[in-house]
Symmetry: C2
């Protein structure tokens, strides 16, 4: 159950050649174009538009990503990568721990917001079983947990809050409405929420 593909035989199924340069390039182009197109048109956007925008043929798109879902997941994974990378930078840097959380949440919302198609992908991050989503959800939870742990160690946030709860607040807020200006509203509410997270010695813990 541990070496399905990755470990046992390092180079067994693809020892032949190094990947072709054009293939790599086109794949990258497709991912970038897909991000743009999904951003603008949601998850139902035309795949032919993606191919056009990437400057490749539709066949090339389908070779790299056999299904809409595959392409969507690849884009999603990249978004998650960025989120994780941002968390790493915020955690390593000299940003105050609580402000790091604030910044990360803002970035997350902005990402979810601008790319409204992503909502459909992030929502599963709470509870879905579609392999990649489980994995991504774990990574997101993980890096948020690290940020939170750091803030906790610095005594800057209350003890009785979990990464899951924060995530749920973020997704819940973002999921609800998509009226004009909702993004600002959500960011503001998140800010207030983070304020509330700050340690207040005189306030009793949440009743859970």
């Amino acid at each position: 159950m541990e070496d399905l593909v990755t470990s046992s035989e390092p180079c067994d199924d693809t020892p032949k050649r190094k990947p072709r340069a054009d293939s790599v390039r086109n794949r990258a182009r497709l991912l970038a174009a897909a991000a743009d197109v999904f951003r603008a048109g949601g998850p139902d956007a035309s795949l032919e538009a993606v191919a056009r925008s990437a400057g490749v043929g539709i066949g090339t798109l389908y070779r790299h990503f056999p299904t809409r879902e595959a392409l969507f997941q690849a884009v999603y994974r990249r978004e998650v990568d960025e989120l994780v990378e941002l968390a790493r930078r915020l955690g390593d840097g000299d940003t105050a721990p609580l402000e790091a959380i604030r910044a990360w949440l803002r970035a997350s919302v902005r990402m979810v917001a601008t790319k409204k198609g992503m909502i459909a992908a992030l929502a599963p991050a709470v509870d879905a079983s579609a392999e990649i989503y489980v994995d991504s959800a774990a990574r997101i939870r993980g890096c948020l947990a690290r940020l939170l742990e750091r803030a906790r160690a610095a005594g800057q946030v209350r003890e009785d809050i979990t990464p899951d709860e924060i995530l749920r607040v973020m997704i819940g807020l973002a999921y609800s409405r998509d009226q004009l200006g909702w993004q600002e509203s959500v960011v503001r509410l998140l800010d207030i929420f983070v304020d509330g997270l700050a340690t207040h010695p005189d306030r009793p813990p949440l009743s859970t």
Copy 2:
């Protein structure tokens, strides 16, 4: 702001003739077929399939319902009508008030469940502004409120619960997962919830 269409001149824009029989018949057929097709295929199901299933031409469908949304809303309104009618019967009948609520919730979930396309329509019932949804949400809330009031008057449910909260539980439960057997699960959870609604004099009220 009060007589845009309905009041001022009772029969002004359509005083001409009585509606043609075939038109009425086809509209009914289309609604029935649409319910079936959406039931099976979700809100993205093919409109041509609806027309085929209704035994009318695609043009006829588009004359009656100029957009997918219009057809969907008409179907939705019918579903809501049924729900409201069921509530009325349950409220008038000799069903025990609490059991009436239980039965109504089960019916609602079953309706939402079987017709998974409806979820997308019921979810807005919590907070959306698309005219019909606001209206339908109000009607649903209203008839649930009546059921609840009756149970309350009979001393069968705790005082500190609102129709909105119950609705939110129902929709929240139904919205989340659509794995195999989820419907049974949701119905069971709702049952437990209704059990919890029952008056327990020794238990303190919810902390809201």
